[in-house]
């Protein structure tokens, strides 16, 4: 019988959202349309229209050694062209942001090839070849994994995910890379904090009801509480119990 991954336990909406994001057979819901040029501006790795700088010659010119693994694994477009490895990093507010670091890493690992995600408590970085990165970033920004107010694209100085929101509903950012102007969020700096020549519009912040229905974070005050999901509690207690007993007697 073929194995069907379950992706995660739980009966709550949060658990369901987590599974939906992780499952590559579920199409991510496209919400906004940030252009490729705008994404290049936010990333700040190259100027829009500039050729991709390379780290090595294209694989076709390089002359690959005879290797069975290289025959099995098709290189991604970026690897084929010899692109540099570049990154995008996100900070997700604890107030019902649609995704969160661990969730992002799982989601990306299930959905994309040739990536190197890094998971930290308040931020999540994903590294890959530059042209692959731009495609992945477009997915991560234009779909339901992103909210302009509660998610920040922050290459450095990420502090803010666990702080109270500002009066206008934006997550704190000491570099104020994006501002709320006329109801939409505009990036005025790229992800590392260098001012942009033009403002990049990433759309309207989603409302509280949407965020609560689409978040992958438990929050007892503003969202779904962890304790309300009996299956998740049972799962975590089982893991805890097995971890505790494991060294002594590795059976249930």
């Amino acid at each position: 019988m073929a194995y069907t991954p379950q992706y995660g336990p739980g009966q709550s909406i949060v658990a369901e959202n987590r599974r939906k994001q992780m499952n590559p057979n579920v199409k991510l819901e496209k919400i906004r349309n940030v252009t490729d040029e705008d994404i290049v501006l936010i990333l700040g790795h190259r100027a829009p229209g500039q050729a991709y700088p390379t780290a090595h010659p294209p694989l076709a010119e390089q002359g690959e050694p005879d290797c069975p693994i290289r025959k099995i694994v098709t290189p991604t477009d970026g690897a084929k062209a010899g692109d540099r490895v570049r990154y995008i990093q996100f900070a997700d507010s604890m107030f019902n942001a649609p995704s969160q670091p661990y969730q992002r890493t799982y989601t990306e690992c299930y959905r994309y090839r040739g990536i190197d995600p890094g998971t930290l408590s308040g931020r999540q970085i994903v590294e890959c070849r530059e042209r692959d990165l731009e495609k992945i970033s477009a997915d991560l920004i234009n779909t339901n994994l992103f909210d302009p107010a509660r998610v920040g694209i922050r290459g450095a100085t990420v502090h803010g995910h666990s702080l109270r929101l500002a009066e206008d509903g934006m997550m704190f950012d000491m570099l104020q890379r994006c501002i709320l102007e006329g109801g939409t969020v505009k990036y005025v700096k790229d992800q590392i904090g260098t001012p942009l020549d033009k403002k990049v519009d990433v759309g309207k912040p989603m409302d509280d009801a949407w965020l609560k229905a689409n978040t992958t974070m438990f929050h007892s005050l503003v969202g779904t509480s962890y304790r309300s999901d009996a299956e998740y509690i049972e799962y975590i207690q089982r893991i805890h119990s097995l971890r505790t007993k494991y060294g002594f007697m590795p059976v249930e």
Partner: protein
């Protein structure tokens, strides 16, 4: 240390405040007689980009503004989310609550009585101010910061 212990209270807002709101609440507080000291707290907004490849660039930020409290200009260096107040008597708390009620209309806040400011010098305070530190300076500003507290004209 002086023996006198003054009552203190802390205002915590549900949201981090815009400079305009901070100006509004501080102007309400400034006219209440009997507030000895106010500390405003929140996450820091640096003058320059502190980390990363853009380190050293200027950091334009709408939260880093100069507000006017009474007749004094105050440079905000943090996005304010907490106010610590030292009062002369406990009955002023109700007036503080009244001021908060008028200003914080779009989100909740809490006013708590307790002891929130430092009363004994730390090692860094001692290094900066010496053995005869002015008690009013303790816990008011970061002793390592070059800029001192702002004095607002009182009522006495």
């Amino acid at each position: 240390m002086a023996d006198a212990e003054f009552p203190q209270c802390r205002i915590v807002t549900e949201r981090l405040l815009k400079p305009e709101t901070v100006e509004k609440i501080l102007n309400k507080l400034a006219v209440i007689p009997g507030i000895r000291r106010i500390v405003i707290n929140g996450p820091s907004i640096p003058q320059k980009v502190p980390y990363g490849p853009a380190r050293g660039l200027d950091n334009p930020h709408s939260g880093k503004a100069t507000i006017r409290v009474g007749v004094t200009d105050v440079d905000l260096r943090v996005q304010v989310g907490t106010f610590l107040l030292e009062l002369e008597t406990r009955d002023i708390v109700s007036q503080v609550e009244e001021a908060c009620k008028e200003v914080f209309t779009n989100f909740s806040y809490s006013v708590k009585e307790g002891k929130f400011m430092r009363s004994t010098p730390t090692q860094v305070d001692y290094a900066k101010y010496g053995p005869n530190a002015n008690e009013i300076m303790l816990g008011l500003v970061d002793p390592k910061n070059k800029t001192g507290p702002t004095l607002i004209q009182g009522h006495k």
